[in-house]
């Protein structure tokens, strides 16, 4: 659930956590990464292949069927029992030559990368640690080396040193240095500012000790990944130089010069170029796969999790088991409404009934919402209130079908809007509702606007998605809306990019964007949470007056009861994926009918309580999957009795306007806290 409600906050939390991990322990995160790595079947196969290749290289001389340079057989024999991969143009055993080539490739890989590390790691540590002038000089030199296309530089160096394997490896090692150094330097720059390094420095630890024992371990992860990938690159580079005649010299075999000979006979003997080519490709593929798997295991990049379930782009999948039942209910509703003599309230604008949502997580399903029902009348502000984790954001996103599938899935209920069920609509129909009849304002104005387009562009887009007007008219409409949300010099602001505006201004832009097509319903998901208090008040009063001016209904999602008192007409309180109490706003504050609401009310900070300790609700909302049987609040409730834990509690109608999901709702006002 957290991955769509607070993407940014959770990402920050993850980063913090990672920092902490790398700073405090050096073994356990690596062990955890290793376990993750071992669970990746592809990576394990690739590792197995590499281990095999290295073993072949080590024991090569003992397992070769024949002398790789001895011209003992007939040229161009096809593969057979005697010559597993046939013979080459001079009658030499191809399998033996391939094994000898493996020795060269493995040596080339490890020696070149090892040599490059030996030079680049200390240089990178020094440049990153001392920064400033030292760093500047080092980086200029590396820039110069880096401005050569790598293979060209290797060629020229190999030319200077003369052809041969050792010289080719030296040339490749030189080419690899800048990349590794840059990587180590960047990680070091970041780590050198950490407090534990500063602490070491202040107690007089020798510099070499700080560099190699304090900093190096924490920059190791990216280096390990890079080394794996570089082994593959070095292997290809050696093969390339040998192919060009500057690496391993005939008659000694290497995969590169075997390919070169194979190419010469391609017309008549195409098989000659297959074994060495496959060998290179498989080795490089394995190094890359292992490198990628290590990167994932070490958590250096965020991989999209593979989740099972129906997949739909931009719309929540609806998969209702209770579909039929709802239809029956529909008929029943119709029948009762035809009864003469019954006075009906006007149809609500939006009627959510028994909404249920599931999230797929690690191959099992978690119910995050169950049986959520509420109405929103025309021009009404309905507040949806609860702690984080109560399901209020999920509810609002589910109505708009904005929860991503997978992992989300709507498993039951209806969302009737102007006579049609939003959960029945296909994408094209939903597209006409979104941003037009129903609009949404999100929690985080910093990240909810596209950073690469001007706000004018994004506003005009909103207009033209739903109105057939010219660009010029759309622009005027956009400016008009910016005026409406009290943005000064609106016309000029149109050309600004989001990063040029303050948080409060961005939230106003988002509100303008939501209102531009005069929606009948606005869903505001914690629109003021990310803003500071003065801006918060401005945005609230803006929303309040806009409701009057435009005559729209609002679902106001918030965790802040103080805000609710200011703005709402009616309140629905949510807890652990359920609605626990519904009430007009004044009655809720004067006489809460659910223990949770009562608790929430005492937790509102008030200026009259200056000096007193702020009341909090002990414990946290139980996460989906950990809901107790019976009342979901009972573990934190002051009024809980044994009966609370036996069966699920139903939402009970207390009066025309109030409901509560508490078996003691009626006695709540008369009893004292147990």
């Amino acid at each position: 659930m957290s991955n769509n409600v607070g993407t940014n906050t959770s990402a920050i939390a993850r980063k913090e956590l990672k920092k902490l991990e790398s700073a405090t322990a050096s073994i356990s995160p690596f062990r955890r990464a290793l376990q993750r790595f071992a669970r990746n079947p592809v990576a394990m196969i690739a590792t197995g292949y590499l281990v095999l290749m290295i073993l072949v290289a080590i024991f090569g001389p003992f397992i070769m069927p024949a002398d790789p340079t001895a011209q003992t057989s007939i040229p161009f024999l096809p593969p057979s029992g005697e010559h597993w991969l046939g013979t080459d143009d001079l009658g030499r055993d191809t399998a033996s030559r391939l094994i000898a080539g493996a020795i060269v490739s493995v040596r080339a890989g490890f020696q070149t990368v090892g040599l490059a590390l030996l030079v680049a790691v200390p240089l990178g540590l020094i440049a990153g640690y001392f920064a400033g002038q030292v760093d500047n000089i080092f980086m200029r030199i590396m820039d110069a080396i880096n401005s050569f296309p790598a293979l060209i530089l290797a060629l020229v160096i190999a030319a200077v040193l003369g052809p041969g394997l050792d010289n080719a490896m030296l040339a490749i090692a030189i080419v690899l240095v800048p990349g590794i150094m840059r990587l180590v330097r960047a990680s070091t720059l970041a780590v050198a500012q950490e407090t534990y390094v500063e602490a070491s420095r202040s107690i007089g630890t020798p510099i070499w000790y700080i560099l190699f024992r304090r900093i190096l371990p924490s920059v190791l992860s990216p280096v390990i990944v890079a080394v794996t990938l570089l082994l593959g690159i070095a292997l290809i580079a050696e093969a390339s130089l040998s192919f060009l005649g500057l690496g391993t010299q005939p008659p000694d075999p290497s995969w590169g010069n075997m390919l070169k000979r194979g190419y010469a006979f391609m017309l008549t003997q195409p098989f000659q170029m297959i074994p060495a080519g496959v060998a290179i490709a498989l080795a490089v593929l394995s190094f890359n796969l292992v490198g990628d798997a290590l990167r994932d295991a070490l958590g250096l990049v965020e991989q999209p999790t593979r989740v099972a379930g129906k997949r739909k782009l931009g719309m929540t999948v609806v998969d209702r088991a209770d579909r039929v039942e709802v239809a029956d209910q529909d008929r029943a509703d119709l029948e009762t409404s035809n009864e003469p003599g019954v006075i009906h309230e006007p149809q609500p604008l939006l009627s959510v009934q028994n909404l249920a949502v599931e999230f797929a997580k690690n191959n099992h399903r978690l119910t995050v919402l169950s049986g959520v029902s509420f109405d929103v009348k025309e021009k009404e502000i309905m507040a949806l209130v609860g702690e984080s984790g109560s399901g209020k954001s999920v509810t609002s996103l589910a109505i708009m079908r904005l929860l991503p599938s997978p992992p989300a899935r709507i498993t039951g209920g209806r969302a009737m809007f102007e006579g049609k069920d939003l959960l029945d609509l296909d994408f094209a129909a939903m597209q006409k509702v979104r941003g037009n009849d129903i609009s949404m304002v999100f929690q985080d104005p910093m990240s909810s606007l596209n950073p690469t387009y001007t706000i004018g562009n994004q506003l005009i887009e909103s207009v033209r998605l739903h109105q057939a007007v010219s660009a010029k008219e759309a622009r005027l409409r956009a400016i008009e809306l910016l005026d409406l949300v009290r943005i000064p010099a609106a016309a000029e602001r149109m050309n600004d990019f989001p990063h040029q505006l303050s948080g409060g201004m961005r939230q106003r832009v988002l509100i303008a964007m939501a209102l531009v097509n005069r929606p009948k319903l606005l869903i505001a998901d914690e629109p003021t949470t990310a803003l500071d208090v003065t801006v918060q008040a401005q945005v609230l009063s803006l929303l309040h007056s806009l409701r009057e001016e435009l005559g729209m209904a609002v679902i106001f999602v918030t965790h802040d009861l103080g805000v609710v008192a200011d703005i709402a007409d009616r309140v629905s309180v949510m807890y652990a994926g359920q609605i626990v109490e519904q009430s007009p706003v004044h009655e809720l504050f004067s006489e809460p009918r659910h223990p949770y609401t009562k608790k929430l009310l005492t937790a509102i900070p008030q200026s009259s309580m200056k000096g007193e300790r702020l009341a909090t609700i002990p414990g946290i909302v139980p996460p989906p999957g950990k809901w107790p049987t019976g009342c979901r609040f009972k573990d934190r409730c002051d009024f809980a009795v044994e009966a609370c834990g036996t069966a699920p509690v139903q939402l009970e109608l207390l009066s025309d306007t109030r409901t509560s999901r508490c078996i003691r709702a009626h006695e709540l006002q008369t009893i004292e806290v147990a």
Partner: protein, 315 residues
């Protein structure tokens, strides 16, 4: 924008100077004495060799020689080949078109294949389509370009005979034939670019698709095409441009080996011949040109980056 380009161009100057010094320094380390080569080989008389040395200024101090070379190089004059005596600049001008043709061809192939694959796979990250496309990309990265080139020649050049197996026809001589000769080299070189671009874009796009502003775009009522291509792609393309820039170095290096396989008369062939013959003026000239081409292309990448990213453009 113009100021940014100028600023970047100015920072290139010291790097280029350092590069030229590096190139020149490397040449000084080359085995063999150019004077001996010019004087007619190891059997030339000592007086003859000495007079050649004097004539070429090889007895001057290192830095005098360096600045003389640099002064000439700035006027695009890299001297004459020690072996043939022909102008190196003229040789470069003759060889450049083939190399540029296959390099640009490779970039085009890389973008045309890599971007759509990355987009298709990134917008449905985790699906089976994504997994098969990415498997293809992983293969494309692992296959060495010269082996791929050989396989292409075998399949399309020899077995099917759709395209000429080797050789080069100038654009001016026959545009169609030119296109046919550069097709296979471009694919061989461009596969790596396509594969790594696809992977990069896929990774970025799948992450961008989860950002809040993408949810905003859905909430506006935008269609998938608009959300992916307008809102997500521009953000996902920014890091992809950086990747493309880095890979161009590998691309230019790769031309040397690909030109050998397809027998193209490009810069790589020119350079490799010079290396075999220890023909210093050519090695220095061609290397310098490679560096300049690489730097200019990197600058172009920075410009594209700035166009895509308003934060860079404005500040």
């Amino acid at each position: 924008m113009l100021a940014m380009i100028l600023r970047r161009a100015v920072t290139m100057v010291p790097v280029l100077l350092l590069v030229s010094l590096l190139v020149f320094g490397l040449m000084a380390l080359l085995p063999g004495d150019p004077a001996v080569t010019i004087a007619g080989g190891p059997n030339a008389s000592l007086e003859r060799i000495e007079s050649v040395r004097e004539q070429l200024g090889l007895n001057d101090p290192f830095f005098v020689q360096y600045f003389r070379w640099l002064g000439e190089a700035l006027q695009f004059n890299f001297g004459e080949s020690l072996v043939t005596g022909k102008s190196v600049s003229a040789g470069i001008v003759t060889a450049l078109p083939a190399t540029l043709s296959i390099s640009i061809g490779a970039i085009i192939f890389g973008i045309v294949i890599g971007v759509p694959v990355g987009v298709l796979s990134g917008m449905r990250a985790g699906s089976s389509l994504d997994r098969s496309l990415i498997f293809g990309a992983v293969l494309g990265i692992a296959i060495p370009n010269f082996w791929l080139a050989m396989l292409l020649v075998l399949l399309f050049g020899i077995t099917l005979a759709w395209l000429p197996a080797v050789g080069y026809v100038q654009f001016a001589a026959d545009p169609i034939e030119w296109l046919r000769t550069i097709t296979m080299p471009s694919i061989a070189l461009g596969t790596f670019i396509a594969a790594s671009l696809a992977r990069q874009i896929r990774g970025e796009l799948s992450e961008v698709m989860q950002r809040s502003y993408i949810r905003t775009a859905w909430a506006k009522g935008a269609a998938p095409r608009r959300v992916v291509l307008k809102h997500a792609m521009k953000n996902a393309a920014i890091p992809a441009v950086t990747v493309l820039g880095v890979q161009l170095g590998g691309l230019l290096g790769g031309t040397v080996i690909i030109e050998q396989i397809f027998a193209l008369p490009g810069l790589g062939t020119y350079l490799l011949g010079a290396i075999t013959a220890t023909d210093m003026p050519i090695i220095m000239g061609v290397t310098t040109i490679f560096v300049i081409v690489y730097m200019v292309v990197s600058l172009l990448m920075d410009v594209v980056y700035a166009i895509l990213n308003p934060k860079v453009r404005i500040s």
